[in-house]
């Protein structure tokens, strides 16, 4: 069975290590914050200028001056810091953020990512995504393996305008975990009950399949 959004987020959260500074994009990546293992601590960075983002506020805690990069009201955890946008992106562009998790329309075997623009549709902008993919040490892309028409999002070469080049090393989809290296996708895990054949059928780019592909563990 393909993973739900929550299950993808759960698998993403397994990547975190104690003491990581993590930036989570909008959508599935944000859900990963709900599944951080109980025995580790991570500090969430929100690129509008908050390191140590906490949960959404109660009605009593609600404060128009406390928002995240998705413009939602949030709180700060104990030990948080708040700063300006240039400082925030110095952290990101300077490679100080350990982990970035973001969604994408397409990823290719060169580690290129397209996530912000579909030509001839309304273009709202890249926000901080181009800075994040250019700067973070580890970037995980989360997305469905194929679009709703069944077309693969893991390509030999991206067709949409890029967000960044040669920057993606790991992809977690509803079907699989894959590494991106040597101009290919390397299948490292499959979702429980999902066959290697199904993953092969839905991966358009070069796919390297080892002899044994373990199922993800939850």
């Amino acid at each position: 069975m393909a993973l739900s959004r929550e299950q993808i987020a759960m698998r993403v959260a397994q990547e975190f290590q104690d003491g990581d500074y993590v930036n989570l994009g909008i959508g599935i990546p944000t859900l990963a914050a709900n599944y951080v293992p109980a025995d580790i601590q991570v500090m969430l960075q929100s690129e509008n200028g908050l390191l140590g983002m906490g949960p959404n506020p109660t009605e009593e805690q609600l404060d128009a001056d406390m928002i995240n990069a998705g413009k939602e009201t949030v709180t700060a955890v104990t030990g948080a810091s708040i700063f300006n946008s240039a400082e925030s992106f110095a952290m990101i562009r300077g490679g100080h953020v350990d982990f970035t998790v973001l969604g994408a329309f397409e990823v290719d075997v060169s580690g290129n990512i397209a996530s912000w623009m579909i030509p001839n549709k309304l273009i709202k902008g890249m926000g901080g995504a181009m800075d994040l993919v250019a700067g973070a040490k580890n970037i995980i892309v989360t997305m469905t393996h194929a679009d709703k028409h069944g077309n693969s999002k893991l390509l030999q070469q991206c067709t949409l305008p890029l967000t960044g080049v040669n920057c993606i090393t790991r992809i977690i989809t509803d079907l699989a975990v894959l590494e991106v290296k040597n101009q290919a996708f390397y299948l490292s895990e499959r979702a429980p009950g999902v066959s290697v054949e199904e993953i092969q059928a839905k991966t358009a780019g070069e796919l390297v399949v080892p002899e044994h592909v373990p199922e993800m563990q939850f």
Binding site: S46, N48, D65, I67, G70, E72, A86, A134, G135, P161
Partner: protein
């Protein structure tokens, strides 16, 4: 109490005075992220002045009927330089009609463009945007085996800023994430106007805690704010 040094007293008493000198076709840098930390009263004054042909440099363009979005109502904006837009229907409509030009700029590059502009640095290299539409037509250069693009900095005729507290000398403190782009924009305006929640006397702010030193600030006005929340999300 010490005497306030008149030459450094930046406080003005009306919005008209605060935005005096704003003319058609000027470039205005605006602090704020979404609707958080925006100089609401200064934006309203710009609408009242009906200044046209403006280039606005701001991460976003407000929403329909609030924030910078109100400047779209009478087509006062010619061009937006932003990282993320289109939260408002009017914006979309004017963009599709060709009445409004947008220069989409990565958020970190936008912040750095203003920071550099205020610091007298005309351009800088960054990896952000290399190999993407943002990098097209820009000079690129390799450093330590990695390609970077050259981005030019931004300055403005005006910078409009929202601070939490400012003293009469223009020293500013921001509150929580309402800080965002305000400190960079404040450094890069030829005339920098700060609208604040509280004006205090010099000496009331701890010098080492000041975010924007008064040297960058030309005018300070006592504001009144609605502080609208764009996406209210509360814990379940």
């Amino acid at each position: 109490m010490e005497l306030v040094m008149a030459g450094f007293d930046k406080v003005v008493n009306s919005y008209a005075e605060a935005m005096a000198g704003l003319q058609d076709n000027m470039t205005v840098l605006a602090g704020g992220f979404g609707l958080c930390g925006i100089p609401e009263g200064l934006i309203t004054q710009m609408k009242l002045m009906q200044t046209k042909g403006l280039t606005i440099v701001s991460n976003n363009c407000g929403v329909d009927g609030f924030g910078l979005g109100i400047l779209l109502e009478d087509k006062q904006i010619k061009k937006m330089i932003s990282s993320y837009v289109g939260e408002n229907a009017l914006f979309e409509q004017q963009l599709l009609n060709g009445e409004l030009e947008v220069e989409l700029t990565p958020q970190g590059t936008l912040a750095e463009k203003m920071r550099a502009g205020g610091a007298g640095i005309p351009a800088f290299y960054t990896a952000t945007g290399y190999g993407t539409p943002v990098g097209e037509g820009k000079e690129s250069r390799e450093f330590n085996g990695r390609p970077y693009i050259l981005e030019e900095s931004i300055t403005g005729d005006f910078a409009i800023i929202k601070a939490y507290k400012a003293d009469r000398y223009g020293n500013c403190i921001y509150r929580h994430t309402a800080q965002n782009f305000n400190p960079m924009a404040a450094t890069a305006g030829k005339i920098t106007v700060v609208e604040v929640e509280h004006i205090v006397e010099p000496g009331e702010l701890e010098p080492s805690q000041i975010h924007t030193p008064g040297i960058y600030v030309d005018r300070v006005i006592q504001g009144s704010f609605e502080k609208r929340i764009e996406r209210k999300v509360v814990a379940k």
